[in-house]
């Protein structure tokens, strides 16, 4: 039996490394090509000018004003969308669990609905709504946050709902209420700290999604990072590829951090319940 298991482990290791090598090549090649493309010098040598310009914010603003405003808009959108999503979703989901359990299916359905409505379809219907938004709030790219909140709803809901399932919300809330806490205190100071990692994961997913969003911004004629990059691709390909790669790496680092944070929490829970 031990021999069989050892042989199987060897086969699995061989299989694992074969698959990983082949697919690793397929997935890393385009990324390496981007890196090579942005550092390609005139005579075939190495040229880091693009990357030097990318980290030099004042010079970048001067050379590519559209790109700089796109980057600013996207980071603003990240902050606004994370805030709006959490403010809208966390109290609602907690409230529905505690007080309106019969509406849970409805809220879940509404939150997952954007999965069945492609962004390109949503933008068709959003056009008249955004005519009103522009009328009321102006045409700033930051108004895209309303549409982005809808886009992240399914992912944020799943993560927050999973976080709430892992704790006993009802007991916590009743304990806090019996000590005289109001509902705001219950949500803000009792429930929220207990689902911190779920909230963090919702926030990180939002960041990745907003940084990569193109469809809605482009078709509503607002400039965000991806729209600016796409436009720049026509005039200065090197810079646009460099910005794309930088944004991709940023999102990767964020998600890697997310997996570490989630893991840290799990380990702590395991320690608490031996």
């Amino acid at each position: 039996m031990a021999g069989v298991i050892r042989r199987r482990a060897r086969h699995q290791r061989l299989f694992r490394w074969t698959v990983l090598t082949v697919l690793g090549l397929f997935f890393l090649l385009p990324l390496l090509a981007m890196l090579e493309f942005t550092t390609r010098g005139a005579g075939g040598g190495l040229d880091l000018a693009t990357w030097r310009l990318l980290v030099d914010w004042p010079a970048l603003t001067e050379t590519y004003p559209d790109l700089a405003s796109g980057i600013r808009a996207s980071f603003g959108l990240v902050l606004l969308t994370v805030t709006l999503t959490l403010v809208l979703l966390v109290p609602t989901v907690v409230w529905v669990r505690l007080r309106l359990p019969r509406l849970r299916r409805l809220v879940e359905f509404l939150c997952l609905l954007p999965l069945t409505i492609p962004a390109i379809v949503l933008v068709v219907g959003l056009a008249p709504v955004y005519a009103w938004v522009t009328y009321l709030l102006g045409g700033s790219p930051l108004t895209l946050t309303f549409a982005y909140t809808v886009l992240v709803l399914p992912y944020a809901y799943r993560s927050i709902d999973a976080g709430l399932s892992a704790i006993d919300v009802r007991t916590l809330a009743e304990a806090a209420r019996s000590l005289g806490a109001g509902w705001t205190t219950v949500i803000w100071r009792v429930v929220l700290p207990n689902i911190r990692s779920a909230v963090l994961s919702a926030a990180f997913l939002t960041v990745a999604l907003v940084l990569g969003e193109f469809t809605i911004a482009s078709l509503l004629n607002r400039t965000n990072l991806q729209v600016a990059v796409n436009l720049l691709g026509k005039s200065s390909a090197t810079m646009s590829v460099a910005v794309s790669l930088a944004a991709l790496l940023l999102a990767f680092v964020l998600l890697l951090l997310l997996s570490l944070v989630g893991d840290g929490r799990r380990r702590r829970v395991e320690k608490e319940t031996p």
């Binding site: 039996m1 698959v19 990983l20 697919l23 090509a33 069945t116 219907g125």
Partner: protein, 307 residues
């Protein structure tokens, strides 16, 4: 556990006081107020846009009700776009599902909390969600006309990738680029199902004298078939809805439905087709809704076995 400092709240009920039935009924009506902001938001930014599409699809240019827009979905060029979209989604869903499942299995055989699995999962998350413009640029830099691989193959190996035309910016190119985000999505969606397979089952099969092939044919595959099918459907919906990659890659013509909708939205409005874009959008919703409905059916089945 977080320490909660006590702060008296005048609005709170006194401890130990049970609400009377009358009071409970009133507070349940008040409880509904708690989700009003959420519902209002969803109505304005999700329900109304959906209604705009649905109503617009059956509205004539003069405001009357008509089925002309929907009938025009039968036009040859729109049917062809739907056909190409469905073909593209089906092929990349299959490629993504098979290759992604292999990669997922390779990850499951590694240590669950190891660095390898963590890095691959995070990278899959980024590549599955990010896509779009970045992906188009990545492939232009790789196998574009002056791309890294194109030049290498031409100068060193003597192979011209584009001997029979520049296919990167057409349907074959989309197939390749879409696979690049379908495979990572499969890894994310399919990993939980693979984790549900217990090593004890394999040991049980082995102790009864079963070979590896028998284990996979009689135990592993039947168990994994429903989640695999479900994940494939999800991948189909994902590719069918994708827009950004194609928009950044294809600048001439509109081979697939999302690009046709872009054309309808941005071009000068031709008389009599103001609402054609909405009809096509409705067509997309119908296709995705059918796929997601099938997905929900399959999901119920696999939750029963692997939950």
């Amino acid at each position: 556990m977080t320490v909660v400092t006590h702060r008296p709240d005048p609005g709170a009920q006194a401890p130990g006081v049970r609400p009377t039935p009358a009071r409970r009924r009133r507070s349940s009506g008040g409880a509904l107020l708690g989700i009003v902001p959420f519902l209002g938001y969803v109505v304005v930014f999700l329900a109304i846009p959906t209604l705009v599409v649905a109503v617009g699809a059956v509205t004539a240019d003069n405001g009357g009700v008509t089925l002309d827009n929907l009938a025009r979905l039968g036009d040859a060029y729109i049917l062809a776009a739907f056909g190409r979209s469905i073909l593209l989604s089906a092929v990349t869903a299959l490629i993504g599902a098979v290759v992604g499942a292999l990669l997922g299995y390779a990850l499951v055989t590694a240590r669950p909390d190891g660095l390898l699995r963590r890095v691959v999962t995070a990278a899959s998350g980024v590549l599955a969600q990010f896509g779009g413009v970045t992906l188009a640029f990545a492939f232009i830099a790789t196998i574009g006309l002056s791309g890294f691989v194109t030049e290498f193959l031409r100068d060193r190996v003597g192979v011209d990738l584009y001997a029979s035309g520049v296919w990167l910016f057409e349907l074959p190119g989309l197939l390749l680029v879409y696979s690049y985000f379908q495979i990572p999505l499969m890894v994310i969606v399919f990993l939980p199902a693979l984790d549900g397979i217990r090593p004890q089952w394999r040991e049980a099969a082995a102790s009864l004298g079963g070979s590896t092939w028998q284990y996979w044919r009689l135990v592993g595959m039947p168990l994994l078939a429903p989640p695999f099918l479900g994940a494939t459907l999800l991948l189909f919906a994902n590719a069918f809805s994708a827009y950004a990659t194609a928009a950044a890659l294809v600048s001439q013509g509109s081979p697939i439905v999302p690009l046709q909708i872009r054309g309808a939205l941005t071009s000068e409005v031709v008389l009599g087709q103001q609402n054609l874009g909405k009809a096509m959008a409705l067509g997309m919703i119908v296709v995705v809704a059918v796929v997601m409905w099938l997905y929900a059916l399959v999901q119920k089945r696999s939750a029963k076995w692997l939950g």
